[in-house]
């Protein structure tokens, strides 16, 4: 486990543990994780299935609260900041299952997210900005105006990514974002993440099994048996 101390970590996990319990048993998934994520950095988290990657992502993105430990954004405990406010203003998540609003078109999914998070583009309308983002990840206007249920898995995944990008947050979390994409599109998405981190100063955290994706990130974290460690990148 590595505890990288930086002067201004955007996201800091201190002693984070998480246990799932039901009537019969308790199952510890994360065990005392401490880590600081920085702005302008593209992170990937690797780990075998069931190692708790998605749980870690859920806690870090404010979707749930840890059983033990604290998570803070810009030095403020998320509990104090408010998980809803944190998710609304500072963190966005691309889910493995896409989790799109199925009664909307691709475009409406993106504009709805912008409305909810209160994002107003510097120039043009939300619709124009949403179309631009969708086009950037390979969805033309005709596809963008179709109901998401009529799109392929890969197209839905791209809509989910565009929706997260549209929120213009400080930290972008993604759970297997390129799993259903072809090689070219996947590379386009990776390039977008790198650009977000390096040119816009965002913190991008991606959970993946893909070594190819991990190789293109700035830092690779490995989650194994509830512990998080940083893996040195091969030069």
């Amino acid at each position: 486990m590595s505890d990288v101390s930086t002067p201004t970590p955007v996201l800091r996990l201190v002693g984070v543990s998480h246990t799932y319990s039901d009537q019969r048993r308790r199952s510890a998934v994360l065990n005392g994780i401490s880590y600081s994520f920085e702005r302008g950095t593209f992170y990937t988290i690797l780990g075998p299935s069931g190692s708790g990657k998605t749980t870690l992502l859920s806690l870090a993105s404010g979707l749930d609260t840890p059983t033990k430990g604290t998570i803070s954004f810009d030095g403020r405990d998320l509990k104090e900041l408010g998980l809803g406010r944190y998710r609304n203003r500072h963190a966005a998540t691309v889910f493995q299952q896409y989790n799109l609003l199925t009664y909307m078109t691709a475009l409406q999914n993106v504009t709805a997210a912008m409305e909810i998070t209160g994002v107003k583009p510097a120039s043009g309308s939300r619709r124009a900005r949403a179309l631009e983002l969708l086009e950037r990840i390979g969805l033309d206007k005709a596809t963008a105006t179709r109901n998401v249920l009529r799109l392929s898995g890969g197209q839905q995944q791209r809509v989910a990514i565009a929706r997260a990008l549209a929120c213009d947050v400080d930290i972008l979390f993604a759970d297997e974002p390129t799993g259903n994409l072809d090689e070219d599109t996947a590379q386009g998405i990776i390039d977008t993440f790198r650009e977000l981190a390096h040119e816009q100063g965002k913190c991008v955290v991606v959970v993946t099994h893909s070594q190819h994706l991990a190789a293109q990130s700035d830092r690779i974290l490995v989650l194994r048996k509830g512990k998080l460690s940083e893996q040195a990148k091969a030069r």
Binding site: S58, S61, Y86, R89, N99, M104, I116, C167
Partner: protein, 460 residues
Amino acid sequence: MNFVKRAGLSLWARKSRTLITLATFLAISVMVLAGVLIDHATAHAEQSVKRSVGAEVDLAMDLSKLGAGSGSLQAPQIDAATVDKIGALPQVQKYTYSTSDRAFLAGGASLADGGPPAPMGPGGTVYQAVLNSSVLPDFRSGMFTLLSGAHITPADKDKKQVLIEERLAAKNHLKVGDKLTLTGNDEKTTATFTVGGIYRDPRAASETDPDYYISWANMVYGTFGGLDALDAGSGGLPQVSTATFILNDADAQNAFKNAAKQAAGSALDAFKLDVNSKAIQQMTGPLGSIRTTATLAMWLMGIAGAAVLALVANLAVKQRRKEYGVLLAMGEKKTKLVWQQVLEIAAVAILAVGLSSLIAPSLTQSAGQWLLGRDASAAKQKIDAWKPPPPGSTGLGEGIDPNAKPVANADPIDKITVALDPADLIAVGGVGLGIGLLATAIPATAVLRLSPRTILTKGK
């Protein structure tokens, strides 16, 4: 206000669910509204009947008090002046009182044919003194018809005037304005009367009055002045044995009874005031019947509909669990999610109630009319089928209840007019919306208590 847009999109995109919810809401609204409309229409019709018929209150001796105190079994009497005091009460529209005595046709006049053989002696009949013949129950019910001349009115009180049945008039070739001579109970005092009117009693001449056993055709109605003329030496205030008061408002019965007791004092001790609502009951019976049916149907359908609606809303919330999770994951406020749900339900409810306001009145008019027509027809058949007991019989031996005798000219109401009151529409809409919101709010609250991660990963 993005949740408003989302609500619209959700309703439009989930057309099947929206239509099912709308249909359920519509069914509930129409049924409940129909129940309310029938209830109001029947109540209105009943009120109209009460107003048109008015309430009839009869003053009659109280048999339970007969003989009390004095030990005498003589029928009590009350003087006319006391009854006039009661008649002057503000609740009274018109009134009459009566008393009777034996009298004999004189001057060559003879009884109508077909009656029993002179039960009161040759030419013997009954002189029924009345204040106002038009208020007599048989005239009011329409059983008696005035054929010519005029009724005996309070203005005729001191005159010597009679009202006779057409068969007695025909037998003696009498017409309005002719003279009829009668002898009093003492069989000596004689007076000559003017025939002021001729009426028709539909009963056979062989049918007899149960008190004196004279043919109905020979009954003579006359003024109190006439009775006084036949009763030489009686003097004093005229005494009456029965009286009938017609009230302005059927609902004023209790107020009238209290005021009458106050006005008459102890003079009323041996009497009772009975409300005769038989005509009203006969006319409004079918109304009550369909009101009961409609109310029962309204409750059954309302409860069943509410249960279905609750189920539909509950399922909808459960199916939208993931949507809630996604929206919460984006930081949407829980209150806005609730508002979105409320808006969706409200939009459907308002549309359903609006549609029901177009459908329910005509549907209720048709259905209510059909139900009422059926019940009124059955009631009318029952009335028409009633037959009086044979002459000389109380009817009890033949299984005929004399009290079940229908009131003539009081056919059951067979028409209602359904009118929609906006207040009813608002009430029904409010109840429907309340059910919908409650059915949505309970499962929604249960879901929204969870974290987005729990919502999104539940069951996976």
